[in-house]
Symmetry: C2
Subunit: 206 residues, 2 copies
Amino acid sequence: MVGTVKPDVRERILDAAGRLFYARGVRAVGMQEIIDEAGTGKSGLYGHFATKDDLVEAYLERWSTALAASTDRALREAGEDPGDRIVAAVTHVGQRVLREGGRGCPLRNYLVEFPGSGDEAGAETGPSALARRRLRESRSAVDRAARELAGPVDGPVLAEQVRLVVDGLFARAARRSPGDDAPPVDAVLAAVEMVRTMVAHHRGRS
Amino acid sequence: MVGTVKPDVRERILDAAGRLFYARGVRAVGMQEIIDEAGTGKSGLYGHFATKDDLVEAYLERWSTALAASTDRALREAGEDPGDRIVAAVTHVGQRVLREGGRGCPLRNYLVEFPGSGDEAGAETGPSALARRRLRESRSAVDRAARELAGPVDGPVLAEQVRLVVDGLFARAARRSPGDDAPPVDAVLAAVEMVRTMVAHHRGRS
DNA sequence: GTCTATAAGGGGATAGAC
DNA sequence: GTCTATCCCCTTATAGAC
């Protein structure tokens, strides 16, 4: 409102909310704090997001969209070989996990924070439903590569193993203490190494 | 000192609190609900646990002690071969994860729920400190077996990989929806299979 | 003297109204 | 933006029952 253009109030709100939610958890952050951090007024926030759940949903949606985009990019650079694609996917997640201050995957963290939400009669709305849907969708690329590499019988097993490693990486990152400035580089290296081994194992069998 | 007539009020409180905390998370469960579930009065609870944090700490301590005991038992039955011990440890975690209604590891879940607690100046008290300490202690058995199997260089890497798989298993269980009555049996089978492969891989190298 | 039951204080949450 | 309504949280204090 002062001189400069409004740098998209909605975007500023999402930035502030994202930072706070990601660092301290959804439940621990109140709306007032987000309003203060964003510099917008209360009406500004509730004008764009009617309820806290709406804001949380937008936050999760934004994060998962960004992750899906960067993963697509990493997979495109990995070429066509299914083994390379799988390793690239895990490596990409590892790099993201290594980012300073990273606290894992907001979708997974949210589902731990709110275990019993949004599944009544298969609800299709709300943060929990969005989180589950996005996690489900994120599996397709690795599923396909694993089936290409290991066939219709072993493929799903390999895909499940890759998912377990990714879940492990995100879990490790999620429980870093805030003052912990050392990213879990050993875990990332071990994860990539393990996936390489599994890929080679299945490649040799085919 | 403690209860004269009643069938161990403290135990009844811990049972109720454990059930509720485990199923719905620590933050989502209020003291009143625990009191109602335990059938005790408010003074009864606060007589045994001065604060909610104390109750949570006792809950985490009890769970981790039970897990450590059953893990020790599983390892004793596994014999002396380090590879067998590693596989047995993961299998044991998998069986625990498969238990109906299981929602993963309370220690890990707590640290996701309360990311920024109990690490100021290396606090040694409180639920977060206890959770981190117990998780650290739980590593020693696998660490030792991995070093025995793979030597001082590859051993730590193998141990890290096993930890990642365990973290992945617990993470998968933690985000089951409450109405989800099908345990993640595929994930457990894939995990055990993967650890077997890694153990064989390292065994072949030594 | 413990245990149970009830009421109330103090703080902070979301959300709406002006 | 401020101010308010409503609700739930943890915790303490008071009163009754075995």
